[in-house]
Amino acid sequence: MNSLVLNISELKLNSPLILASGILGVSYSTMKRLVDVGLGAITTKSIGPKPRKGYKNPSIVEVYPGTFLNSVGLGNPGIDNFMTEIKEIKKFKFPLIVSVFGDSIESYIKVALKAEQAGANAIEINISCPHAEVSSIGIDKNLTFSIVKSMKEELKVPVFVKLNPNVTNLGEIALAAQKGGADAVVAINTLAAMKVDINTKRPILSHGSGGLSGEAIHPIAVKKVYDLYKILEIPIIGCGGASNWQDVIEFILVGASAVQIGTILHQGLDAITDIINGLKKFLKDSEYSSISELKGLAHEFKTQEVPDFD
């Protein structure tokens, strides 16, 4: 039996690894390759109502080893062009999550309906890209509730909500998504960040600032998932800097049902093979028959609430 098989909402995944939105989710052929080496599902690049080139380069750079800063600015071919890509992907029978965005609730719905019609198995709502205008929804619990509720009313497939970590109270936004009927939340999107070159004195990204992903944000994402697991009833998909099998296990222990990966792919597709092999070996060696048995185990330990005095 495959110890890595699991379900998220209606989706059956052959492994807990899902491609994170914004990484490589452009062509059917790359997505197929990623599933062939072990991903359980694919989230596409965020797709909007019309073609959009995004920000100029530099738009993706490394800032520390394994940690990247990006401001792609939601570059995407537009849903009408992308429908042909979705149809191509559907020939391969793996779970496809289409990430969508729009400039109004109506346009979000329009894009999502087209994606569903073309064969998307789930919709991920991008309300959180920190370097584009849609982030304004993800910082407001009422807007988050409204958009999720409206989309749930129109769509048959499950709806996931990708959360913006650049807020004071992530819990209340996540609860608003749950109240709106979200089938899962994805935590977290990239963290607002910036890099300035000291020789030219210029911000490096063409947009000035962007979102931080990769190794440096993993402990932050772990903390966010840990906190959300305490208050949410819907599944959490962990996302943020998972770079090896240990990071994936860590996400599951704090309460993630599945884990998205992205930035680690700068090391190539072998990184996925290594994670899958590591997970299988760990589960076998520690005699778990399914990775889901590990879900939330870190919460069983009492943590110290008040510091010791004298």
């Binding site: 990484i23 062509s27 790359t30 197929k32 390759r33």
Partner: protein, 278 residues
Amino acid sequence: MTKNIIETVKIKTIIDECDGVKTFLFERNGTVVPKPGQFVMIWVPGVDEIPMSISSYNENGEWAITVKNVGDCTNSIHDLKVGDYIGVRGPLGNFFKIPQDTNKNIFLIGGGIGMVPLRFLASELIKMGNKFKFIEGAKVKDEILFANEFLEYQQEDLEFHFCTDDGSYGKKGFTTDLFEHIIESLSVEELKDSVVFTCGPEIMMHKILQICIEKKVEMYASLERIMRCGCGLCGLCVLDPLGLLVCNDGPVFNSHMLTEMEDFSKFERDFSGKKNSL
């Protein structure tokens, strides 16, 4: 692995190569050594960041890129002066694998600005003691690159053949014609013992692929596509239907991969990810 961190360096030397083409030399910190065929992402502060083949490298840590003025960003590069800063990331991607066997019949076939990675390869081959035959093509005489440098090599077992579309330098015609002519006299064994490294317009490389398949000659081509990251994240440089990425799986691909690539010489994606005809 920190090869994707932008390092800003000062331009040390600028060389006018030919009409609309300049070489820029700069020194980098660190000990990373690039290989022929690899590329760097070059950031022109305030303008853009684009992939560029590495044109040369020496033991003093001096790198060079050779840039043809074809668009906004390359135009800005041409405006740069000695002492100006550019940002560099890399070396990125795979490289031309130099045959261990120094007796192989090596062909380098370059068209136009595609000469750049082959120039770096040629200098490495000479260093390793490999002989080779170089075929260079350009539209007109003024666009022939590195000819003086090549002719200075003056070593036995090196051959340089030039051609131009209008016959203003070397033979009149295309590199593919010259290549076909040269290998005509080779025996089956000699063909089997030959390898082709090529870079240039994809229509040219596609024709070379057809010749190499027919003659059963091993072949490697360096491809170019639009990219944001240069390191396997943005996915814009994908080649359907294999899903190979020019940045991480390439830019150098062998003839087996090229044969199965429907996009080769036909399609590329733009910054939105939309597929367009080349």
